[in-house]
């Protein structure tokens, strides 16, 4: 992550969209997010529009906006000492971030799908851009199996400011590939398996965080967070979707992750959709995750939480060893054929002490 606040996922977002539902819609969502310990607060929202042109073309576009305030853990000088540091907080200025995306989908005579998606987001110290291509290829006319391929290229720039540890703009690029197979098992169930690989090159250190370096003489100094300029990652994911009755279905998703920074991770997410009353739907979600620490990570609470004069080093907790849990409840009111309203509450915890809650709500108008 570039900096200790929320930044829209520019690489992943274009591959997140589910298979296009041929239905015109306008959706608006608001989000309010806050972390414990007076860390980060984010308020924002998004608007998305989807429009079909005949049976073969579909255009999607959207904008999103956030305002971020708060502070993040960082080393600060200990009062009265010139070379002693303690865990403090780095205050963030209030800043806004705006983003946009556009996507065009085409279906051929065999109903194979081809999509191109572009995203752009900008904030005072970071610019993110990406282009993604994806395709869904049916194995035969019965459409019981599809092969899915997606590729994205992101090009980002961390802009230098007075507060950043780098004095000139720094770039990074990411190439990402995911291939998968989706199989209809029976009238009520589908299974999907995919494999993914990503390579990120360029500046990947956190432009605000600092580490303490100790030289051979024992002198301490604050230095910039330092990470390798290349990161190769990959893994597999599996998804099972099953309808148990006319008004109840479940989804289960598992992901394994591994990279050459030494991080491995597992994520399991289960969700249910329960139409418990006419026009009302409940959607509980439980997500569990775990990850191991990066090779060059040290926690603030470690006995040795400083680094030698040279080499990589980071105290960024996101690179640490922790387990995560998200408990979420969403409710949707299907007011009419055209309108639906939704509201969701989420509680997220990491066992390293970070916790966050967010509310999201909005509407979808289908036409």
């Amino acid at each position: 992550m570039r900096k200790p606040n929320l930044i829209i996922a520019t690489v992943g977002i274009s591959l997140l969209a589910p298979i296009a539902q041929a239905e015109n819609s306008i959706a608006w969502q608001f989000n309010q997010y806050s972390e414990n310990d007076d860390r980060i607060d984010v308020r924002g929202g998004a608007i998305a529009i989807k429009k079909d042109f005949g049976t073969d073309y579909e255009l999607s576009a959207g904008i999103d906006y956030d305002t971020v305030t708060g502070a993040t853990p960082s080393w600060v000088a200990l009062d009265g000492y010139t070379d002693q540091y303690t865990k403090g907080k780095a205050e963030l200025a209030t800043e806004s971030r705006d983003g946009a995306y556009a996507s065009l989908l085409f279906r051929d005579k065999k109903r194979n799908e081809y999509s191109i998606t572009t995203t752009y987001s900008e904030e005072p110290d970071y610019v993110a851009r990406s282009l993604a291509l994806s395709t869904v290829l049916w194995s035969d006319a019965s459409h019981n199996r599809s092969y899915n391929i997606g590729f994205s290229h992101a090009f980002n720039t961390a802009l230098a400011t007075e507060a950043t540890t780098h004095s000139k703009d720094e770039d990074d690029t990411t190439n990402y590939l995911e291939v998968g197979i989706n199989q209809v098992i029976n009238k009520n169930m589908t299974l999907e398996a995919s494999a993914y690989v990503g390579n990120k090159e360029g500046y990947q250190s956190n432009q605000y965080l600092r580490i303490v370096r100790v030289d051979s003489s024992g002198n301490r100094s604050l230095a910039a967070d330092s990470r390798p300029d290349e990161r190769l990652s990959g893994g597999i994911s599996l998804r099972a979707i099953n309808s148990w009755s006319n008004n109840f279905s479940t989804q289960a998703w598992y992901r394994y992750y591994q990279d050459d920074w030494g991080i491995t991770g597992h994520t399991l997410e289960t969700r249910a959709y329960w139409d418990f009353a006419p026009q009302w739907r409940l959607n509980p979600v439980l997500r569990l995750g775990s990850q191991s620490a990066a090779d060059f990570y040290r926690d603030y609470s470690d006995d040795v939480n400083y680094f030698s004069a040279t080499g990589f080093g980071s105290n960024d907790a996101r690179l640490g060893d922790y387990k995560t849990r998200t408990v979420q409840m969403n409710v949707e009111w299907l007011a009419s054929q055209e309108w639906s309203l939704n509201l969701g509450f989420s509680r997220y915890t990491q066992d390293n002490g970070l916790s966050a809650s967010w509310i999201t709500g909005g509407f979808v108008f289908r036409y």
Partner: protein
Amino acid sequence: MSKHLLILALCAPVFLTACSHVQPWEKATLAKSTMKPGGPVPELGVFDQHVYYSKEAIQGGTGVGGGGCGCN
């Protein structure tokens, strides 16, 4: 033992093909919005992904979609 496992693994896709032929007109349930990976309101999950991308070091594998109704 490993030879049989290999045969099972190779045969599995054929088995899946052979045993899951849902006819195009039988896809009413699969066509439901709740059967799509993003659910009926994909927008609800977008902010979640922002949080996970921002607060965790692992990413990817969130899928490209496909299958299901196939009636578009």
